[in-house]
Symmetry: C2
Subunit: 284 residues, 2 copies
């Protein structure tokens, strides 16, 4: 009989961004196996609606459950903002997102109670960081700013580039005037722009990387639920990567940012996990 | 009994870009009704694979046929490059893309037989412009350049902006050195950057706008097939717009570039038109 504690953790994102979360899990929970799914056929999520993102998230969770995962990390801020509260009641395994852990660290760390958040249009428009931060400390003022060009610039590979710096200084200008002491990097691509953002915001602003904080939250969750792996990660079980499109391109990007070589990336048909919308607007 | 000649033309794109094609049809074929579909839930197409884009195109064609269209214009270069040759044999109505008409005008107009093409990664990677231009004139040399940031810049609204000019001059630099006399704007967003591209490439390079050429090709097709509308466009039949996500945002963008007010934009569930892949790799 297999021990569920030795099952893999499922991690998913709209594409490559969530690899920054997978990377932190690899570093901080080295015994855990990972099954990663990147929805590269429907990327990006940041400009799409709550209803659509929730439907996509359900399809992906069904796929990951077929891979016998013991827990799921939604490694995408937009999907965490739009879908987590709905889907975590619908499926019989623990599901966490990337937003709560970062918000907790920001709330605990801010001295002047002025916190900035940058992310996609979907994440910022959802107001979820504000809601979470207020539930932790009603005195915190939250300043959100959508940065829609950051993801395509990262995917173009222009992470250290004067042009990206100019886009960043334009986006971040209004946050510079707000006297924030903490800035949440509210999109999984943004840690790859960390040095540029650091340079513009200055040393006095603490940058919160939710990818790292989420890996620690996952660790606490697995300990609490007695789900920590009892094996060291076997050489025979590589980290497994699935995508909905362009497996080879994904693998190249993954190899450029992960500490381990990605040996296997497989394309699957995610729309196979579609089901008709039910009365009442959900599609179960 | 209804006259099929008075049926609407179906026009589709991955999102808003195809509106530049719809606009040219409105201007040049004022009696024709239009049903437009923008796949805003799965935009962009330019970074996705041939197989995925072909599957999406089939779903959309099934939807448009339900709207009783008499002909279809694939108003998206990536879908024209990847899907047109396959789908036009699968469905019982005329289907045209946006690539052929522009290629014909470029081939007829170039004096030094050196033609540039800019587009998405998918369109440029497909090599379809080169293939078509060579079939028209084997002596033409074709220089392609993918410009993946142009679409997000247009969608950010930064069409007349020093930053966009800098991105454009970086992308276009290698074409400036190629002594081309003709440049095909191989993505439906790019006519919105026309003045910037004109400024960088200079007056001596002819810019070919396939949106305009495609409207003329549609006109010739409808005449040849005896499908031209016999009615003037009725006030009661507005141009109809459907999207797979974010209808309100689409409507705002549409109203900023179309000569008529968009009164109705309706969201539909495009994945309902999914069917299981058949043996042999197609999903019919």
């Amino acid at each position: 009989m297999t021990d569920i504690r030795n099952a893999p953790v499922g991690v998913f994102d709209s594409g490559v961004g969530g690899l920054t979360v997978a990377r932190e899990i690899m570093r901080n929970l080295p015994s855990e196996k990972i099954v990663y799914f990147g929805d590269t056929a429907r990327v990006p999520y940041g400009s799409k609606s709550k209803e659509t993102i929730t439907r996509y998230s359900r399809q992906i969770i069904r796929f990951l459950m077929e891979q016998d995962v013991k827990a799921i990390v939604i490694a995408c801020n937009t999907a965490s903002a739009f879908a987590l509260e709905t889907v975590r009641h619908e499926f019989p395994l623990p599901i966490i997102g990337v937003i709560r852990a970062g918000a907790e660290v920001a709330a605990a760390g801010t001295r002047n109670k002025r916190v900035g958040v940058i992310g996609t249009e979907g994440t910022i428009g959802s107001g979820i960081h504000e809601e979470l931060l207020h539930s932790l400390d009603p005195d915190i003022q939250v300043f959100g700013k959508a940065c829609p060009l950051f993801c395509p610039l990262v995917e173009e590979g222009w992470t250290h580039d004067p042009l990206t710096r100019e886009v960043a200084s334009r986006y971040l200008k209004e946050l510079q005037d707000k006297d924030i002491d903490t800035l949440i990097l509210g999109c999984t691509h943004y840690p790859l722009l960390r040095s540029t953002i650091r340079e513009i915001m200055g040393e006095s602003v603490r940058l919160v990387n939710p990818a790292y904080e989420t890996a620690l939250e996952l660790k606490r969750l697995l300990e609490k639920e007695d789900l920590c792996s009892r094996e060291t990660r076997e050489e025979e079980f590589p980290y497994r990567f699935y995508v909905s499109d362009l497996a080879e391109k994904f693998k190249q990007f993954a190899n450029s940012i992960l500490p381990y070589d990605v040996e296997m990336t497989q394309k699957i048909d995610i729309e196979r996990y579609y089901s008709q919308p039910k009365e009442g607007g959900t599609d179960g």
